[in-house]
């Protein structure tokens, strides 16, 4: 029993952190929101070189055959740095959904994939730039193209109504794919929440009002302490769900992680906005990137209500 990252996992996290810290992820996100996807796609390719897209693809299909723990490590980093693009779709959902379909190999190498999976994910993210877009309807996977553009509160989430094309033959597991997507979203929320807290802490240490740093006011301290506490308990749920992903409790544990991560990240976003005051309410400040992203991810890949129902269903079904 070692409930902490291994040295290899730490090294993987460090390498992603170092790549993303030195990349202009915020610039890529802003450009992405303005439909200039070039910087974001360049970043996409650099991350693909690190194997992010191939993590949960089996080795025999050209992937890394890594565990879901590596997946959540990667998605926490993507969330922390506000990296745009259909990552959950390409790197978490589709590899499991497409099974032994050879397209999985292309995705592992960095082809951009996306998917709409109603009712939880009714629109396909960035379908206009995806090499492989899909729509799933009643268990049938079909190729898709980008239909009507929909505008998300998170400008970097470029959504499209999917227009179904030909059916695609797969032997994938849609339930497992949904679990991986929800888990990856939870990890992204955790990363975004951590970033929001870090930005808030840095701000309140330098901002002065009424003659002192606002970070010395107890109302501010307690608000941010509550965020720290909430996020501290989101991380073990996410890691625990990653370890449980192939077991009988996968749905329950993934949903528990998504619920708690969404609540915690949302708490972080509200606290970060409040302690920043009016300046937080602007697009100029990078903070806006995470505030709007968290709001969107709270409902993406299963709303909190959907995931609460899954948890309760599993608990009630279990033997006493």
């Amino acid at each position: 029993m070692k409930f902490t990252w291994t040295d290899e996992q730490k090294a993987f996290a460090d390498s992603l952190e170092s790549l993303l810290s030195s990349a202009d992820t915020v610039g890529a996100a802003r450009a992405w929101a303005d439909d200039d996807t070039a910087p974001g796609l360049a970043l996409w390719n650099r991350l693909a070189e690190q194997g992010v897209n191939a993590l949960v693809v089996p080795e025999e299909a050209g992937g890394m055959g890594a565990t879901a723990v590596e997946l959540v490590i990667a998605f926490e980093a993507l969330g922390r740095h506000g990296v745009p693009g259909p990552w959950v779709e390409s790197a978490a959902f589709l590899p499991a959904a497409l099974g032994s379909n050879p397209l999985v190999g292309e995705l592992a190498e960095g082809a951009v994939g996306t998917v709409a999976f109603a009712p939880h994910t009714p629109y396909a993210l960035d379908a206009d730039v995806a090499a492989h877009a899909f729509v799933i309807d009643g268990g049938t996977v079909a190729s898709a193209s980008a239909g009507e553009r929909k505008h998300s509160v998170d400008g970097t989430r470029r959504l499209f109504t999917p227009v179904a094309g030909d059916a695609v033959s797969t032997d994938g597991d849609l339930a497992a794919a949904f679990n991986l997507a929800a888990l990856a979203t939870a990890a992204q929320l955790l990363g975004a929440g951590e970033r929001l807290l870090a930005e808030a802490v840095a701000y309140v240490k330098q901002r002065r009002q009424f003659g002192r740093e606002i970070g010395s006011y107890q109302a501010i301290k307690h608000k941010l302490a509550d965020v720290r506490i909430a996020l501290d308990f989101a991380r073990p749920l996410i890691n625990g769900a990653a370890l449980a992903i192939d077991g009988p409790d996968a749905a329950r544990d993934v949903s528990a992680a998504k619920v708690h991560a969404a609540d915690s990240a949302y708490l972080a976003s509200r606290a970060a906005l409040q302690v920043h005051g009016a300046i937080g309410y602007t697009q100029e400040l990078d903070l806006s990137i995470w505030i709007t992203k968290v709001r969107a991810l709270v409902t993406a890949w299963g709303t909190p209500a959907v995931h609460r129902s899954r948890v309760l269903g599993a608990l009630v079904a279990a033997e006493a």
Partner: protein, 384 residues
């Protein structure tokens, strides 16, 4: 104790309801914080003015109809129930006008109030500065005396000026006595935003709109005629606005009752799919109803000669949190569609500014604790 309207009030209510039903645009106007929406909102203000519904409680000589406070609340309820457009003139009418009535000269009243009421001249609030958000007493922008020209020279920077991206005139406090401490030595100025030396830079908000702007002042001359109240007395003059802003006038209950009604409609459509939103729907409806009844109590007190006092802070915390909760519940009811831009996302993003502006809710809670509960003031830092 009663909640009954007089026959005159009922008649006023019926007339307002009828006029609004006939005149409110069928489709919501584009946001007033876009160029296109701005023009349409100004046209709407002109229409309101023509029907004498722009400033119902003002004197007749300034486009008003000298309505009572009760009639004002009645009108506001009807206004929001009808889904009428947001008031592009609200900063002037609700924040500046009470001060001009109290502290302005007759000449200033005659010069400023009519165009403010009609929406021809829209006013922007130039309150905050980069290093002074809710801490207005630490303002640094300066006013230097110019005896030769008979006026003052303004320098500095204001930020979070609401409506300033498109507005015509601004109002704000400047430090006219550099020796004086904090609350002393401030003066209240009015100025055209196209004056020489003023630069307005719009600020893009979370929702991409430009409801706020930064305003830069570089040797801007303001004649004595455009000083409001006595030089150096700006803090005292401004505080009546601050009370007002947090108090009754900024957010009328009609606004929240209308939003709660829309939420119930959304529940009727989507509630079956989202039963978990039940509590949010009920509790925010109760909150809106509580706010409405609380306001009737306030109106009764004010009509009896009372004043808002620190109750404005109680008010402000309540409505701003209610507004967020109303819109969060709306998003809950939209399920996976919640992130798609809609009236609910717009309202949600707007609601997030509520706990921040007009004095953050943290400051309001301090005021409630200190002035209403009588708890000791907090130890201040060295900067005090």
């Amino acid at each position: 104790m009663d909640l009954e309207l007089t026959p005159e009030e009922l008649k006023f209510q019926a007339e307002a309801r009828e006029w609004l039903a006939a005149n409110v645009p069928a489709e919501p106007l584009p946001s007033m914080d876009t160029a296109e929406g701005w023009v349409l909102h100004q046209e709407w203000e002109a229409k309101l003015t023509e029907a004498k519904y722009s400033v119902v409680s003002w004197p007749k000589e300034y486009h008003g109809r000298e309505a009572s406070l009760i009639e004002w609340v009645i009108f506001e309820e009807e206004y929001y129930r009808a889904g009428a457009p947001g008031r592009v003139s609200q900063n002037g009418i609700f924040l500046l006008a009470p001060i001009i009535f109290d502290h302005g000269t007759k000449e200033q009243q005659d010069r400023f109030l009519p165009t403010m009421a009609s929406g021809e001249r829209v006013w922007a609030q130039c309150w905050s500065e980069p290093e002074a958000g809710s801490d207005l007493a630490s303002l640094r922008s300066t006013a230097t005396r110019d005896d030769e020209r008979g006026g003052w020279i303004l320098n500095g920077q204001k930020t979070w000026s609401s409506r300033a991206s498109f507005a015509h005139w601004g109002f704000g406090l400047f430090r006219s006595d550099p020796e004086a401490q904090r609350h002393a030595g401030l003066t209240y100025f009015l100025f055209p935003l196209d004056a020489e030396g003023i630069t307005v830079r719009p600020i893009e908000q979370l929702d991409g709109e430009v409801g706020f702007a930064e305003v830069f002042f570089e040797d801007v001359f303001v004649p004595d005629a455009d000083v409001l109240g006595a030089p150096g007395a700006g803090w005292h003059v401004a505080m009546s606005t601050a009370g007002n802003e947090r108090g009754l006038s900024l957010r009328s209950p009609g606004r929240f009752c209308a939003a709660a009604d829309r939420l119930v409609e959304l529940w009727k459509q989507n509630g079956e799919l989202h039963p978990e939103a039940e509590r949010g729907v009920v509790d925010t409806w109760i909150g809106a109803q509580a706010y409405r009844l609380y306001t009737w109590g306030t109106v009764t007190r004010l009509a009896g000669g009372g004043d808002m006092g620190a109750a404005g802070s109680v008010n402000k915390v309540f409505w701003s949190e209610l507004d967020v909760a109303l819109h969060e519940t709306g998003l809950d009811l939209l399920g996976a569609e919640a992130e798609i831009e809609s009236r609910w996302t717009d309202g949600y993003i707007f609601s997030l500014s509520g706990p921040i502006y007009a004095g953050t809710n943290e400051i309001q809670r301090n005021i409630v604790a200190e002035r209403i509960l009588g708890l000791p003031r907090e130890a201040k830092g060295a900067g005090k």
